[in-house]
Subunit: 237 residues, 2 copies
């Protein structure tokens, strides 16, 4: 596939948000004595994300940086789980947990392979520029550029986000590859004219989650980021 640049979804596609965030919640539980099913709190926090985006797209909520959206949803989910006792410091710490997500094990090496190739790499995430910069540095995820939906003051899957990446990177949509484990992200990217690559992340929602159906109409399916890099750069599989 002849692409000039590849842009990556980050939450889920490159990082294991579920174990990272529930680990931080559990640590706060140990410290404060709060008790809960921390994986369930994490899942419920994340499940509030899509409805919140829909409210923003519908104009019912003003656009705000992802950190602020995370805080809004966290306050709701803590109440729901009887965790109103958690203070400001803990809540701030939990919002920042999304700046410290652990990568899936193949992601750092796969991104290094792409960095050493002519293919330009970038994030294209709903996380803010600051969040993505810190996350990538800490997780050892090497990108040639850091792009965020924040720069379009919107969120994926708004088509303006994908087109912004094309414009800022000066790469025509048909030479730009969106890489994600989420079919809706890829469908919106394709609608905007980008090429698409799907990477399955069956553990995104934990070992008991229902399997995600691979989307039928993507340009490429790769087992992981290393496999993607080898495919894009013509290296040995």
């Amino acid at each position: 596939m002849d692409v000039e640049a590849a842009v990556f979804d980050v939450f889920g596609t490159l990082t294991d948000w579920r174990s990272s965030v529930s680990g931080e919640l559990s640590g706060i539980g140990d410290r404060t004595g709060a008790r809960a099913d921390w994986a369930a709190v994490t899942d419920d926090w994340r499940r509030r994300y899509r409805p919140a985006l829909l409210k923003i797209f519908a104009g019912e909520l003003p656009w705000r940086p992802l950190d602020e959206l995370h805080r809004l949803m966290l306050d709701e989910v803590l109440t729901e789980h009887g965790l109103d006792g958690l203070g400001e410091a803990e809540r701030d710490e939990l919002v920042r947990a999304w700046h410290r997500l652990r990568p899936w094990s193949d992601a750092p090496a796969g991104l290094e392979l792409l960095h050493d190739s002519p293919v330009v790499t970038s994030t294209l995430s709903n996380g803010g520029v600051g969040l993505l910069t810190r996350l990538a540095k800490q997780a050892g995820l090497r990108f040639d550029c850091v792009l965020s939906a924040e720069l379009a003051r919107s969120y994926k899957p708004d088509p303006r986000v994908y087109l912004m990446a094309s414009e800022l990177l000066e790469v025509a949509p048909e030479r730009l590859l969106m890489v994600a484990c989420h079919p809706d992200d890829l469908a919106a990217a394709a609608e905007a004219g980008l090429r698409t690559a799907y990477i399955p992340r069956p553990l995104e929602w934990g070992p008991d989650a229902a399997p995600v159906e691979p989307p039928a109409d993507v340009d490429l399916v790769a087992a992981d980021v290393i496999d993607l890099a080898r495919t894009l750069t013509g290296g040995a599989g």
Copy 2:
């Protein structure tokens, strides 16, 4: 000095635009038979830059991406040097020469040292995001983030550019260090509340250029990027 992030000027501070661009001009001369003092053409091209920015700040020229500004100035300077015979393909190639600048020899290693430290690094240049991404990849300049004045639809030394970097990186201005070899860039950054580091680049305008007076009121003077990294991270000088 306790800073959380360092943002770098690129043209002059990290890269040797003069020898890179005059080398490409000279190559085009060899290919097309055009003859000129290529270093003088390069210097004249670059000298048109500041007056062009002033016209943009004064509202006499609309803002446009640096590539377009480079093209506008190139057309003028070629006429001035009797080089109207150079065609579209050569002019496009010359504008893209700014995407392929060679780094000063200390810059790659210095940026690697900073990457391996807690200090977040980014470009903060008047070059566009696409230009900076390609330039950094090709020159082996490792940044944690890529920021351009383009994201504020302006140019340095407009204070909005420095404040945009502070906002996008989520780093308070007093914890953000502007690194440059140009006193006016540093003065504007300081005016916006940033900390400042000066790196002399006596060869920026070639071996015969008049020496630049180091600015009196910067927070730090470093011999080069390696020296800067050692100072910021407490490593051995």
